[in-house]
């Protein structure tokens, strides 16, 4: 966190202000009487769970409102444009043009007034300035690449550079670090801080409190469209008064997921696995795992950065990634590589929960029916019986009857993730593979989902869980951790070993990034 009151805030001019903004859709207030001021060089953070009205408020600054919204209140912008950096920046970059062309097109339009011979130099000058402001190094060859050849962080900065080119002095950054691993997060934070240091105002929409702690000067805590608490960052984060803020700020779970005394015999074993991906006609190995074991009643966390091969590992276990050699043994019997060749019992035994719960549901059918199908297909239950069991399981996970009769569109991300868990549980699995099931969820929802997972593991006859994650906080309470880097398991051991005495430099770096983060990783 920055030292409090680094700049005398009240002398700074206001770049943009929102006064008593209310946005209603179908009589429901998405945003309820929100007011905020944005000053140059400061970072204002809107904090809250998903669905709390952060994005609606942020987009209101751009004059964008949801379809059919009724808007009251006032949004004033003083002599500047507002830039918006969305959560998925690739969606707003033209995939058919190189980054340099994208930026030069914009710059060229702005230098039309100049005499023709000067235009080219002036345009180049502007692009260079925007790149510098956006913390993008032009010499790294970024300009010559297409958007899909850039990393997520680079894409973010290209969008930022575009906004700055257009003269934006206020940037709305929507969840810039969601789903990123600790090391990438660190870089994004440094870059945003540097952008703010150049006199650009940043409105940060985030549920990632570590990022807010690092960056924000001013914090507004939102819940259900209202601002419940507001003030300088250090006061809100160190001495929250509102109970909701306190809940948001609560430490991540450190209590072990599994009961350490109940670990049993070997359940699932990976033996000499090499998985390949087909890229440009060549089959390149992306993952090598000599040996990895999950025991009964335990939770095994697989930690690694994006691209380390952890999702491929999970998909191999579930039979979704067929192109591999080596064996996956369940109770000592090899499982077929493809889930199409697995028997009903084998399918039921190893269940997989997808990262993107929304994409993993059929958007046309009610959630309850989809969940019930597992019991019908994998356990031969009757339709009515299966529906009854699905309803019980869903209620058990905190989803009431009216909610689950809706199509997936009517549920929030956290609710759908619970439904996805219920769908897998109806198979009465012995191994549950959870692939990044908490990324993209706000801290409160994440904590409750992980607590739920712990309850499941601790039940008698509960499944052994393979927890795939990039987030060390999520992985820390697991029984054992395996650290994956560049397709190899560089280290594995009990949580005490990994968290207190990491032997591999990559593990140490991951831990250090997390520690600096201020998160509690206590063994």
């Amino acid at each position: 966190m920055k030292p409090p009151m680094e700049q005398p805030m009240n002398e700074n001019p206001v770049l943009a202000s929102v006064t008593a903004l209310t946005v209603e859709v179908d009589g429901r207030a998405l945003v309820d009487r929100v007011s905020l001021r944005i000053r140059p060089g400061t970072v204002t953070a809107l904090v809250g769970a998903s669905g709390s009205g952060k994005t609606t408020t942020g987009l209101a600054l751009l004059g964008e409102y949801p379809a059919g919204a009724r808007v009251t209140g006032e949004v004033t912008v003083h002599g500047t444009r507002i830039g918006y950096v969305p959560q998925h920046p690739a969606a707003v970059l033209n995939p058919a043009r190189r980054t340099g062309a994208l930026l030069h097109d914009m710059a060229r339009r702005q230098v039309r007034d100049l005499p023709r011979p000067q235009r080219r130099t002036a345009a180049r000058q502007r692009v260079t300035e925007a790149l510098a402001d956006a913390q993008l190094d032009a010499s790294a060859g970024v300009l010559g690449r297409y958007p899909h050849q850039l990393s997520g962080g680079q894409q973010q900065r290209v969008v930022l550079a575009q906004a700055l080119l257009l003269g934006a002095r206020v940037i709305v950054a929507d969840e810039p670090t969601t789903g990123q691993d600790a090391l990438t997060k660190r870089r994004i934070v440094d870059q945003l801080a540097a952008v703010a240091a150049r006199g650009i105002a940043v409105l940060l929409l985030s549920h990632d409190l570590d990022v807010v702690r690092e960056l924000a000067d001013e914090v507004l805590v939102m819940r259900g469209g209202r601002v419940v608490e507001q003030g300088p960052a250090h006061r809100i984060l160190d001495g929250p008064t509102h109970p909701w803020t306190k809940e948001l700020l609560a430490e991540p779970r450190t209590l072990p997921y599994a009961d350490p005394g109940r670990t049993g015999e070997e359940l699932l074993t990976v033996d000499g696995l090499t998985a390949r991906h087909r890229t440009a006609g060549r089959r390149a190995p992306v993952l090598n795992v000599d040996r990895l074991t999950l025991r009964r009643g335990e939770c095994l966390a697989v930690v690694g950065r994006s691209g380390s091969g952890k999702t491929t590992l999970a998909r191999c276990l579930a039979g979704l990634h067929r192109d591999h050699t080596g064996q996956i043994l369940l109770d000592g019997t090899a499982l077929p590589r493809s889930l199409r060749d697995r028997s009903r019992e084998q399918l039921a035994a190893v269940q997989y929960v997808f990262q993107d719960a929304r994409a993993a549901f059929d958007e046309h059918r009610p959630v309850l029916d989809q969940v019930a199908r597992t019991a019908v297909r994998l356990r031969g239950a009757g339709h009515r019986e299966a529906t009854e069991e699905a309803r019980r399981t869903l209620t058990d996970l905190g989803l009431d009857d009216a909610l689950v009769r809706r199509a997936p569109g009517g549920l929030s991300g956290g609710e759908l993730q619970r439904a996805a868990l219920a769908r897998a549980l109806l198979a009465r699995p012995r191994v549950l593979v959870c692939d990044e099931i908490t990324s993209g969820l706000d801290p409160v929802t994440r904590r409750s989902l992980l607590d739920l997972l712990a309850t499941l593991i601790r039940r008698p006859g509960g499944p052994g869980v393979v927890l795939i994650t990039h987030d060390l906080d999520t992985a820390a309470p697991a029984t054992r951790l395996a650290v994956l880097d560049g397709g190899h398991i560089v280290e594995q051991g009990t949580r005490e070993q990994i968290l207190t005495a990491p032997r591999h430099p990559f593990t140490a770096a991951l831990l250090a990034a997390s520690r600096r983060w201020g998160a509690a990783v206590r063994p």
Binding site: L339, A359, R373
Partner: protein, 269 residues
């Protein structure tokens, strides 16, 4: 009320040609005596055609073959293309995909009209034969569209989740993938119907499947061309009816696919 506004325009446009095509032959009655070619008036409200027949009478009779052959051919083409496309999109066996999709690709390389001419030269077809023939040449296009749309839907996590639940091929292919690509297919069917109508009309124009003086909208457009400047109705009316049929069909399909969308933006403060 809403329904009327949604389907009204399309239904109105398509009703005239479809009504004429289906009910026309019953209303036509006995043909009147032949008059001179390409005349106007003289008891013929739309004049006479190239052999002096009453144009109204011909229009009433000429819709059925065009509409029935085109609809049957489109339906037949999809009957084959749907399973082809779905199977090849959902299989993970490359050889199966090759076996299913290569032959239509070869067919695609031959111009469809040439194909129709070749086959028609060897086996002169009747209306049923023409429908089969046109359906046959439409299969490759339709199959490729089905496969491309289905391949996208089949790669979604939802399909993997269904497999994880042990769902049957049928449920995955029809219940999820088929349903997901419905909009694409409906849009394509609208275009395909137009294309098929064009093919049927062209075939009729070339004398395939119909007699050269048959009462057939397509044949009428062709045969009466020569008198266009003297007696335009014999060309314009059947041409307009064909256009109305395809356009109305497209409008209906669009309306059926349209989700109720609220106004795009809220009011600014």
């Amino acid at each position: 009320m809403n329904r009327l506004r949604r389907y009204g325009p399309g239904a109105a446009v398509v009703a005239i040609p479809l009504g004429l095509a289906l009910a026309g032959p019953f209303l036509a009655g006995e043909p009147s005596a032949r008059a001179a070619s390409f005349t106007l008036g003289g008891g013929h409200r739309l004049g006479t055609d190239f052999v002096g027949r009453d144009v109204v009478h011909q229009v009433l009779l000429g819709g059925r073959p065009v509409v029935l052959v085109a609809l049957a051919a489109t339906a037949l083409a999809y009957l084959v293309a749907l399973p082809l496309g779905l199977i090849s999109a959902l299989t993970h066996r490359r050889w199966l995909e090759e076996v299913l999709m290569r032959p239509p690709d070869v067919l695609l390389a031959v111009p469809s009209l040439l194909m129709i001419l070749l086959v028609a030269a060897a086996f002169p077809p009747g209306p049923v034969g023409l429908a089969l023939l046109v359906a046959f040449v439409s299969i490759p296009d339709a199959a490729r569209i089905v496969r491309a749309a289905a391949a996208e839907a089949a790669s979604r996590p939802a399909v993997e989740a269904l497999r994880m639940q042990g769902e049957s091929w049928w449920r995955i292919a029809v219940g999820y993938v088929g349903r997901s690509i419905l909009r694409t297919l409906a849009a394509d069917a609208g275009i395909r119907l137009t294309g098929v109508l064009y093919l049927v009309a062209t075939a009729a124009f070339l004398g395939i499947g119909v007699a050269p003086d048959a009462a057939d909208w397509a044949v009428m457009v062709d045969r009466n061309r020569t008198g266009l400047l003297i007696q335009p109705w014999a060309v314009v009316v059947p041409a307009l009816l064909i256009v109305a049929l395809t356009m109305g069909g497209n409008l209906l399909v669009d309306a059926a696919l349209q989700h109720r969308t609220p106004p795009r933006k809220g009011r600014r403060p």
